[in-house]
Subunit: 257 residues, 2 copies
Amino acid sequence: MPHDRDVQVHLLPDLAPPDRLAGGLAVVIDVLRSTTTMIHALASGCTAVRPCLEVEEARQLAGQMRVGRVLLGGERGGLPLPGFDLGNSPAEYTAKACCGTTLVLTTTNGTRACYRAAEAERVLIAGVVNYSAVCEQLRQDDRPIHLICAGTDGEIALEDTLLAGAFVDFLCEVSEVRLNDSARLAWDCFENHGQVLLGALQIGKGGMHLQRLGLAEDIQAAAQVDQFNLVPELRRDPLRIEVGAVGIVQSRWPKLK
Amino acid sequence: MPHDRDVQVHLLPDLAPPDRLAGGLAVVIDVLRSTTTMIHALASGCTAVRPCLEVEEARQLAGQMRVGRVLLGGERGGLPLPGFDLGNSPAEYTAKACCGTTLVLTTTNGTRACYRAAEAERVLIAGVVNYSAVCEQLRQDDRPIHLICAGTDGEIALEDTLLAGAFVDFLCEVSEVRLNDSARLAWDCFENHGQVLLGALQIGKGGMHLQRLGLAEDIQAAAQVDQFNLVPELRRDPLRIEVGAVGIVQSRWPKLK
């Protein structure tokens, strides 16, 4: 008899114990906005994303790269950083800006989630914008799954939990699973908010903050289900994110109201 | 125009920032089992509960009290402790055992939640078993509310989140509220599991663990909606829990299936 597949949600990076991630498949989720931005950047022609925890580290790393082949992007408190090329708005990452460059990116919550997730054997980067493509990768893999939510400034975020719940919903459909309690909560969240996605992204703390900053368009961008069919994947030495698999077999998100 | 009332859920004690609790009303939730046990003990005639973080601290405190006037209770890993009078099963706390005694209690998760909650101005102790009585106190108070879930060994627990969500549901009905993202998640959990309460308590990690230990009856005991009409409240100098308000105006839990 095959084992049930372990599907664990960690509602914050700090709630994902590094030793439990070992040997597993981790999915990093920061819907507003860093994983959405990474997907946009790679889709627009960046060859890799180099996540940095600290602003100064990002500056130094970018400084070592060839001018014209590097983009320095990110935010603190949601706002662009002085001297950086771009902020953390997905729409800034156009083909013109991105083509052939390496993106050095530092964000408040998402890069931290990437570093924690790096304890896992394989790491994928997910947003609403590449949901079904990530589903396909989860289906093809057989490792235990860890869905790691970035949250907002150390607080659990509604939008990340919602997307984690969408993956739980998919996984429950395609295999026998063993869920942790947080996976059940995420599933509940998806059941109640999955069909009113944009509204859910707007009422959470992160979404409210973006609206106050005049960045409501970023929420719209983050809510575009299956806009892309690529799955960014973490590579090592040095730690970076590149396009991994590409392709959607079937759109998985329920119809939006 | 009156302000919306702040209602925040903290899905683990460590996720409740002490400085934010100041001036607020905190509700400690550890359905399986410590807050349920505290309510049973006080209803059965204990005059106070003295929560202790460490086993040795509990032993010493009990050792200083008059023989026959103290009960030493608690668990580690769900199991009773050597030399202790009682474990952490609500049904052990009978009138015969409790009458006129002080309960010195140390548990893995619940006592920790009490200490974090003590940063708030007023602290209530809640279980499913005194749900509507706690609702009545929340309605009468006007401080910002913090619902603090104990969780299970550092992990978010379904049953605690469910009860927190039941309070959110009540508070949304009786006043204008401002919810944090975790409060929305808890509310989702309550909406999906509130009518199948016993089943929800059985599928969570804590409930599964109790069943493996042969303590399934404790889950039944924890699921008795409104069995009691008393609200334990934290007092200080020394830190202890005593019967605060008593009384249910109206049963608030939705009909169980």
